[in-house]
């Protein structure tokens, strides 16, 4: 704001500087002058329908709503003059006419904007003696509860749907006294950001279904944290009563999550009290699991690992969750290296490790800059579901006019207009190769293809675009030709002068890469250490049936191992089958730690709640394990010491997507009648999310359970919706899923998610599948 472009206004006798055309309410908010409001929200369009923010402006004979009144030079405003106060009291009286006096049984009581403002502007008794309106409550899904009799029609939730979530689900139907907010035809909200309407609703009309009736706002304490389910690293407030996390709210951070929170980050806390939460150390003795004390469990783990190791450290392998904290990853790495093992990886869902890997893959730029892009090419990802708040930023760019082009093996359900180039998993790689050829790449796979005009045009636009970004995501990483896809994407970005970005896995994918939680010299990667079984494994924060790219192969290798030591927050049948010692691990909200989010920002957090049962933070478990195995340098007393040593080791290492593309990489995925597409569903990403009942009840989670195939393929194979289909993959057990014909899946492909119940029996996320009726 330069001096010429600012104007001066006077509010309640204070002179304020403002940008011309700014809305009065924003100027007052910035100066800390409070004006009551309900419908206004800084992230939503202005509707000025609640009339609560009426103020007096000099020379204007009537009160004006501050939210839609642009400021002018010399404007004199009073927010508390008799006229303003009378207007505000009048608005309040009207709002309260139909509002029930049910605060004692309302979940919003104590943190209700209407209640607060009524205290200041309401009358102690109502002049309204007639009957109040009653509205039936529709069921809008497992996340948001409705009490629409309390609704004051601010329409924040309606505008949120249209402007932020990108799907208009809630609307205002009827008119006047009969106006109600709802879906009209009862159905569940399908947005992955739906939970935000709970925060937006100024009254108790929309409240959290999993949380409702559990606690009052004033009974809870608030602690800060970082959400642990995707690379965004959303800043959150945990609300606890008696040391139990009862709900999660977003904490404003414009650079990361703005004021929003994805439903995944909001409701995953439910898993902290899951029935299969591991509360005590478990040791397998003679094939039987026994609960034991920490000392014996740690000794069993140390002994087991030492025996499996023998004289060769490389007989051990470490598979670490990309959502583990920097401290946990650092100590796990130190432990494995101390034992002489170079076999370490966090890229558990990656299928192909050919070629030079990017040094430290990351988003390629700040999260906030996503929304300023002119052209975004997305290869093998669905940001809307993979990292919902990155999806939201990309949608913002699209709404501002950016072109978004998807290269995926199946069509996505998007909330903005974008080009989607869909081809079966094999042809998809060739589509990307086509774009690379248009970009001037001449070596390798591109030799065998003929470049199409639309690829040339896309490349031209990509080159011409001021801010262009090529993003590579989870579906590409799970592809057996990821090395090739990555190489092609990098060449396209390079030739176009566009930025390259990776949608890295987990909450701390960037931190893991910075730390080098990757194979050391001569070490084996996540695939190789399971393809060439080791004698001992260390698992950190993973469930091997769900968190590995090829669970059939993984479970097999772990089964054969002499000793598998797992640090896990939960029990699980697969873990109990393969492991020998399971040590109860504190979940992310229960432990102090550090994440590097996808843009490389370091975000530290403290444990918000005490660990359940006898669970302990990962750094403590690994510290004792290191000491028990007589490895030096494990004498830490606080997580800060671990962090400082880890950060010291990082030095000035920074995220870096640079790597040497290898043009000799070949397309390895064979042609087949049917190729699997193993999407990672939004509510299956980690053990916590999979145990949140509210999230599992959403349509996103339920739909992921189906085997989807193109209606033409279904007809050809004689399958109809609802048929039970037996799926077989080479080197895997059979599994049965329910068929659902879906035109979003191209012909020759079968969409069958990874990390869903039943998928543990299957092999890789892509590759040949055979189907038959069960």
């Amino acid at each position: 704001m330069t001096e010429e472009s600012t104007i001066t206004i006077e509010v309640d006798g204070r002179a304020l500087k403002a940008a011309p055309g700014a809305m009065l309410i924003d100027v007052c908010d910035a100066a800390g002058i409070h004006i009551p409001r309900f419908c206004y929200h800084r992230k939503l369009s202005l509707s000025a329908n609640c009339r609560m923010c009426l103020v007096e402006v000099e020379k204007v004979p009537r009160p004006l709503p501050a939210c839609v009144t642009p400021v002018n030079d010399g404007m004199k405003v009073t927010t508390n003059s008799p006229m303003a106060v009378e207007a505000q009291k009048g608005a309040m009286e009207f709002l309260l006419i139909n509002h029930p006096l049910d605060c004692p049984i309302c979940d919003q009581g104590g943190e209700c904007e209407l209640q607060d403002v009524a205290l200041g502007y309401g009358s102690d008794a109502s002049r309204y003696a007639e009957a109040k309106r009653v509205v039936a409550d529709p069921d809008i899904g497992p996340l948001v509860a409705t009490d629409l009799t309390r609704c004051i029609h601010c329409t924040r939730c309606v505008r949120f749907g249209a402007e932020i979530a990108g799907i208009r689900e809630l609307g205002a139907t009827g008119r006047g006294d009969h106006m109600t907010i709802g879906t009209y035809v009862e159905h569940a909200m399908g947005s992955e950001l739906a939970g935000n309407v709970i925060d937006l609703c100024p009254v108790g009309a929309l409240t959290s279904k999993p949380f409702r009736f559990q606690a009052r706002a004033w009974e809870m304490v608030q602690r800060d944290g970082i959400a642990a389910h995707d690379g965004v690293g959303s800043n959150v407030h945990y609300h606890l009563r008696r040391d139990q996390i009862l709900r999660v709210h977003p904490k404003d951070n414009e650079a990361v999550n703005e004021c929003w929170l994805s439903d995944r980050d909001r409701f995953s806390y439910q898993a902290l009290s899951a029935a299969d939460r591991l509360l005590k150390p478990l040791v397998k003795q003679g094939g039987e699991w026994r609960e034991t004390d920490w000392q014996s469990a740690l000794e069993a783990a140390a002994q087991g690992l030492a025996q499996a190791r023998g004289d060769d450290g490389n007989q051990l392998g470490g598979l670490l969750s990309p959502s583990a904290s920097l401290e946990e990853l650092y100590l796990a790495k130190k432990l494995m290296r101390g034992l002489g093992s170079a076999n370490l990886d966090h890229r558990l869902r990656q299928a192909d490790f050919r070629g030079d890997p990017p040094k430290v893959p990351w988003l390629g730029g700040p999260i906030a800059e996503l929304e300023e892009q002119d052209l975004v090419v997305i290869i093998g990802a669905n940001p809307r579901k993979d990292q919902p708040l990155l999806g939201h930023r990309i949608r913002k760019a699209a709404m501002k006019g950016a072109e978004v082009v998807y290269f995926n093996p199946l069509k996505l359900d998007l909330n903005y207009r974008a080009a989607q180039w869909v081809a079966n998993p094999r042809d998809w790689v060739l589509e990307v190769a086509n774009l690379a050829k248009a970009a001037g790449v001449r070596k390798g796979v591109v030799n065998k293809i003929k470049v199409a005009d639309h690829h040339k045009e896309l490349f031209k636009r990509l080159k011409a675009a001021d801010k262009a970004l090529v993003l590579v995501g989870d579906l590409a990483m799970g592809h057996p030709d990821y090395g090739l896809l990555r190489c092609l994407a990098a060449q396209v970005a390079e030739a176009a002068g566009a930025r390259l970005g990776f949608l890295t896995p987990g909450a701390n994918g960037v931190g893991a890469a910075l730390l080098g939680v990757t194979p050391g010299e001569g070490g084996l990667d996540a695939q190789a250490m399971l393809a060439e079984p080791r004698k001992g494994y260390l698992l950190l924060g993973i469930d091997p049936g769900f968190d590995l790219e090829n669970p059939a192969q993984g479970l097999n290798a772990l089964m054969k191992a002499e000793c598998v030591v797992a640090l896990s927050s939960f029990r699980s049948p697969d873990l109990e089958t393969v492991a020998d010692v399971i040590l109860p691990l504190a979940a992310a909200p229960e432990s102090a730690g550090t994440f590097f989010n996808i843009e490389g920002t370091q975000q530290g957090f403290n444990g918000a709640a005490p660990p359940a049962g006898e669970a302990r933070p990962g750094w403590k478990i690994l510290r004792v394990l290191g000491n028990l195995m007589n490895l030096g340098g494990f004498d830490f007393n606080t997580p800060l010491q671990v962090r400082d040593e880890a950060l010291g080791m990082l030095g000035d290492a920074a995220p870096d997507n640079g790597f040497e593309p290898d043009p000799a990489l070949e397309l390895t995925l064979p042609e087949a009648e049917l190729l699997r597409i193993g999407e990672l569903p939004i509510y299956s990403v980690d053990p916590m999310v999979r145990r949140a009942p509210a999230l599992q009840a959403t349509a996103d989670a339920q739909d992921a359970a189906y085997l989807r195939l193109n209606p033409e393929d279904a007809k050809r194979l004689g399958f109809t919706a609802g048929d039970r289909i037996t799926v077989s993959q080479p080197q895997a057990r059979k599994a049965v899923f329910e068929a659902r014909p879906d035109p979003a899946v191209p012909q020759g492909a079968v969409a069958l998610c990874t990390a869903i119940p039943g998928s543990q029996a299957l092999a890789g996320r892509f590759g040949e599948v055979t189907l038959e009726k069960a």
């Binding site: 990108g166 689900e169 009827g174 008119r175 035809v185 903005y416």
Partner: protein
């Protein structure tokens, strides 16, 4: 800038629009779409609802079924809720079956002052139904409406698209006898 300034639309136009309604209705809706900028198909919504309501889409003209509303949303590439909002806001859209003749009696200020109460009670007595109801044989629906802008001829009612003014009970009998 919010959704009120931007055309409301679904991210991707759905195929199969040529299967909706009849060629005549599609032509009528298209005529209205053509009056507005191409991205503002939303502007044709009210006219589209009128066209569909008046037509005999499901052997029961005069009202909009749930399917009609969804088809209009599909045809105009609108989120269905946007159609529900408009259809529930305006009283001339019928969301339940109505009789063959919809008698809309104005009871607003001018008509009331000129005796609309008498017209209403005469109609209720004659047809044996109350305001808002439909006769059992499905011939008549009696509806109370707000001002139809014919105060000069108060009291008045509207049947179909026809206004009848300066009503008296005798005149009402005459009009109803003249209907099919």
């Amino acid at each position: 800038m919010g959704f009120k300034m931007q055309p409301m639309t679904v991210p991707e136009p759905a195929p199969g629009k040529d299967q909706l309604f009849t060629p005549e209705i599609r032509a009528e809706i298209d005529r209205w779409i053509a009056k507005y900028p191409a991205e503002w198909k939303q502007s044709a919504l009210m006219a589209a609802l009128v066209a569909v309501q008046d037509a005999d889409t499901d052997n029961n003209p005069g009202w909009l079924s749930q399917k009609d509303l969804d088809d209009v949303a599909h045809y105009l590439d609108l989120p269905p809720i946007a159609v529900y909002e408009v259809a529930t806001f305006y009283s001339m859209y019928e969301l339940k079956p109505v009789g063959r003749h919809k008698i809309c009696v104005c009871t607003n200020v001018s008509c009331m002052a000129c005796g609309s109460d008498e017209i209403v009670s005469h109609l209720e007595g004659k047809l044996g139904i109350k305001l808002g109801q439909t006769t059992e044989d499905g011939h008549y629906t009696l509806k109370e409406v707000e001002c139809l802008g014919a105060c000069g001829g108060a009291p008045m009612f509207q049947i179909g698209k026809q206004y009848y003014e300066n009503l008296t009970p005798d005149r009402v009998d005459e009009i109803l006898d003249g209907l099919e």
